[in-house]
């Protein structure tokens, strides 16, 4: 993403007055400050940079009342899965020590979004800057907004930026994020979700690919055989990014930093940790996430003393789908190919207890097939 010069970040396109809706609202009506003061220092007293966070009611609620009603429960705003996951790792009862809350506020909570940080500016977590000179964008631009935050995983995968991987077939067909991730999903539906996979109006491959189970479909046999056994990604994703050992802290100037150890592209099939009616598959793709026992050591030693309550290899839906992949070249590219399954030897000893529910035991690795579909 092209960085913006400091002045470009706050340069307003005068064409905003032609916006028949937002163009009728004066700057200070949303942002505050003194519009008559020619001294920029005093004029900005009381200015609110993002008047849509954490509460968008005053700025957007009058006109966009339906969206605003559920806004605070949108995962992009609430970040509620972070709190739930860290809570479970910190304490069997889910209570997060206040030292960790401080750490989360300083670090994790900085990566949120808001109405403004999707439709008006780049997100603050990537240093902000107006999109198109503060002209309101109905559809957030993919690279300046979506992958600006979702960079190390989604961007690298979707655009095929890692050596040896291709862009997602959806990217090759010029699809933008909003093709699958609709505004309704992004804005929230008022329900509190424990993770993004529960979101009821989230994307499902079958929304577009329902024909795969039709009796006349080319690949009906393989799709029907694997239905509810393996997720779509098990057959159709390429190697994807994994991260490890995120530690957060503050430097001598009091500025928040994070340090992650290595990240690596890999492909691992494991047992589904979120098996449900909605996701009944036994096998899914798993990604190592960056959490570590010592993530919050700067704030509190051994804060995550219930660390093993959740796996560090988590359900993943990599964004690098291809019709043909290494593991679906033939039946035996996967069946009997233990190297693509998450085995005990792939997991660090210190994390084995945490991952015992997702590691694939030898007896569950599908056996080699003699029969091959045509």
């Amino acid at each position: 993403m092209e960085p913006l010069a400091p002045h470009e970040k706050i340069l307003v396109d005068s064409a905003i007055v032609d916006d028949e809706n937002h163009g009728l609202i004066a700057c200070h009506e949303c942002h505050g400050g003194n519009p008559d003061d020619p001294n920029w220092k005093t004029a900005h007293k009381g200015v609110v940079k993002d008047p849509t966070y954490p509460d968008a009611t005053a700025a957007c609620g009058d006109c966009h009342d339906e969206i605003n009603e559920h806004y605070t429960k949108s995962l992009h705003v609430s970040l509620s899965p972070y709190k739930l996951m860290i809570g479970k790792r910190a304490n069997p009862n889910g209570k997060i020590p206040h030292e960790v809350v401080e750490g989360m506020d300083n670090h994790c909570a900085q990566c949120h979004s808001s109405c403004g940080q999707c439709h008006i500016s780049r997100p603050t977590s990537v240093e902000g800057g107006f999109l198109e000179g503060h002209l309101f964008q109905k559809k957030p631009p993919m690279q300046e907004v979506c992958t600006a935050c979702h960079g190390s995983r989604v961007q690298k995968e979707y655009f095929g930026e890692h050596e040896g991987t291709k862009p997602s077939v959806h990217r090759q067909k010029y699809m933008k994020c909003e093709k699958c991730h609709t505004g309704e999903e992004m804005h929230g539906d008022g329900k509190e979700y424990a993770n993004r996979y529960e979101v009821e109006n989230g994307p499902k491959c079958l929304d577009c690919h329902e024909e795969i189970y039709d009796k006349d479909a080319d690949t009906v046999v393989t799709h029907r055989i694997h239905k509810d056994k393996a997720s779509c990604h098990v057959c159709h994703s390429q190697p994807y990014n994994n991260c490890s050992a995120c530690h957060v802290g503050k430097d001598k100037q009091g500025l928040a930093y994070y340090k992650t150890k290595e990240s690596w592209f890999d492909f691992k099939i494991g047992l589904n940790p979120l098996r449900s009616d909605k996701r009944p598959e036994q096998f899914v793709t798993l990604r190592h996430n960056p959490v570590d026992r010592g993530t919050f050591d700067f704030y509190m030693k051994d804060a995550l003393n219930n660390f093993d309550a959740l796996p560090t290899w988590k359900l993943a839906t990599p964004h690098n789908i291809q019709r043909k992949t290494q593991q679906n070249e033939s039946c035996n590219a996967c069946h009997g190919n233990a190297s693509i399954f998450l085995q005990e030897k792939d997991v660090e000893e210190a994390e084995r207890d945490a991952n015992k529910g997702v590691i694939v035991p030898d007896n569950l690795i599908p056996r080699k097939q003699k029969w091959q579909p045509k």
């Binding site: 400091p6 706050i10 005068s14 007055v17 200070h28 430097d251 340090k259 992650t260």
Partner: protein, 66 residues
Amino acid sequence: MKCLRVLFVFAVCSVFLIPLGPFASEAYEDTQCFICHTSAKQLIDITREIAKTRPAVTSTETEGEG
């Protein structure tokens, strides 16, 4: 006569309708916010001034992928 009546109606409507358009946005085109934030030159000067005094906001100790 009919023509005069049409002109009269048009003139009366204009008094009420025309100000709703351009005048509404002009209300803030004259504000200091709008004048300054639409001027690249003024913003360059101000952001340079800010850069001299404002300390860094991101830590240089950040390492690795987020």
